[in-house]
Symmetry: C2
Subunit: 322 residues, 2 copies
Amino acid sequence: MHILILGGGGFLGKRLAKELLENEVFTSSEPIDITLVDIGFPPDMLQDARLECIQADLSDEAAMKDILQRPPEVIFHLAAIVSGEAEKNLDLGMKINFHASLQLLELCRKLAIHPRIVFASSCAVFGGDVSKVITDETGPKPRSSYGTQKAMVELLMNDYSRRGIVDARSLRLPTIAVRPGKPNAATSSFISSIIREPLHGKKASYPVPVETAFWIQSPKRIMQNFIHAANLDAALLGADRVINLPGLTVTVKEMIDMLAQITSSEVTKLISYEPDAFLQSIVLTWPAHFTTKRATTLGFVSDASVKEIIQAYIEEEGITYI
Amino acid sequence: MHILILGGGGFLGKRLAKELLENEVFTSSEPIDITLVDIGFPPDMLQDARLECIQADLSDEAAMKDILQRPPEVIFHLAAIVSGEAEKNLDLGMKINFHASLQLLELCRKLAIHPRIVFASSCAVFGGDVSKVITDETGPKPRSSYGTQKAMVELLMNDYSRRGIVDARSLRLPTIAVRPGKPNAATSSFISSIIREPLHGKKASYPVPVETAFWIQSPKRIMQNFIHAANLDAALLGADRVINLPGLTVTVKEMIDMLAQITSSEVTKLISYEPDAFLQSIVLTWPAHFTTKRATTLGFVSDASVKEIIQAYIEEEGITYI
Ligand SMILES: NC(=O)c1ccc[n+]([C@@H]2O[C@H](COP(=O)([O-])OP(=O)(O)OC[C@H]3O[C@@H](n4cnc5c(N)ncnc54)[C@H](O)[C@@H]3O)[C@@H](O)[C@H]2O)c1
Ligand SMILES: NC(=O)c1ccc[n+]([C@@H]2O[C@H](COP(=O)([O-])OP(=O)(O)OC[C@H]3O[C@@H](n4cnc5c(N)ncnc54)[C@H](O)[C@@H]3O)[C@@H](O)[C@H]2O)c1
């Protein structure tokens, strides 16, 4: 079973490859082999005989055509220009997040097989009145170019699935926390930073009022949901391939309070409020209240509590704190 | 005041030009002049000193750049590959309905002014469970490539408006009835045919069960709504530039019964049921029940009754029947 992970050098892509190799979690009983595609790979990429890393640009048609010569049964499409960058550079966001995704679908159209695609969309397709509860029927109203591009690709994924060209599943990911590593250009980066940085003895700040609520999910649950999506029977999905993943609603204050409770107020002293107009203009349009009946019925999972999320991060990273 | 009508040789474009020239209906007191762009114009195009017809393809970048040299204050973007054709030819639909629309926005990005755009979207962005009532919050779930392409352009229109590149208003048009002239490649074509053809002594058929309901609007109201959209203050619209127009819910049976009542059962004898699997696969996914609170609050109008719609058509066309 041949699996392709686009954006496989990124945070979620790397972790997904590791998970798949460790657990061989596919309903198909065939042995798996994985091809990761990314413009660059971190030096600590995992090594495995079943794993191949190809440095290529998703927008490079010839390179992608070449990669698809050996047609994958499953494609995880995680390559993206993140929200902050896509907002600052409309051309780049459109090129990678939109056009390269369309090109991928067009290349699949020429294949003899019709690969299953798990597309990493985002709850950033929603925007506007954040007090409203988002349901499975609510229309995307993005307030960022990133969200716009993700919403357009979801529409394409549905239409190309309807036409039998691919068999797609677009997952609208909640904000992921706690993301290990360094802060990045995602406008949601601080949501992880306020937990991660103080645990490493570093300062962190949040740019929005402390009462602001977010819709989050841990990397561990995201992995389970990616794999569940890839294994799901198309008949259960029907015509609509877009799924709002079940997250957890939590405020900045609740995260900080929980961190203090698990560690100490010495740790959370490192966190401060630093308002940022650019970040607020995007982040404050993200709704944090959802009912995700469809996802739950389909068997997608969520975290039990913020406590569990923070403790899992501490454990995974092997952090010891005073 | 310079007005551009893309798809100006089409049914709605031609009628809009006539309406604008006759009534000078803009809030701006400047005299108007209109440029129509289309790949072709009918021989009976109206002649007027204030009107210019340019034969050009919307997807021709050089031609469009040239046309935008004299920047328009208002663009009515009505050029499209209709639903039936876009379903049969994915490439052509994507090229004209999607890529050419994106290119238009990109060309506007290079202009010094930020034109108002009235984009003719469609209620065909909705699909699925047709028993549900569509509200202003309901997400598009197109079941056709045409609907998919329209929904993607709506997203672009919103994002490019948010960025201040254009000042767009995307109107989701109900099915238009009664459309004069000949049947066309729109999958909704029969909805007009069953009224129009018998009035001209010709046979007509409908491909769906007679109880099937539709969401319709007359050409006259569409004109009023196009012009209202172009005159609307951007501040009243806010971030969301997409509007579900207020139509009328009516079944095939109700249309035929009303035609018989206005004329005679001799006329409606010409109408028959001819099931068509292709048309059913698209048309039966269109919802017919809406609440359009936002549109009504914003001052958009609907028809009073099917009776009024049929009578207006008879009057406009100067039809006499036995
Ligand atoms: N992390 C989150 O909170 C979150 C939330 C919602 C959605 N998502 C989506 O999940 C996916 C993965 O996110 P992540 O957190 O791992 O981000 P990431 O930035 O770590 O990974 C994305 C990867 O895509 C690669 N990439 C970018 N442009 C490319 C190109 N032209 N060709 C090939 N590869 C390219 C990057 O190099 C990067 O390694 C993305 O699509 C993202 O939009 C993430
Ligand atoms: N009539 C309806 O029931 C209905 C319903 C919903 C939406 N709409 C939308 O309203 C708009 C106008 O509809 P209409 O009924 O007048 O259709 P129409 O087909 O009569 O007009 C569309 C015009 O666009 C032109 N066109 C097509 N490709 C072009 C290109 N590449 N460059 C330039 N011009 C091109 C066609 O030649 C045609 O004259 C369309 O965008 C349509 O999708 C119509």
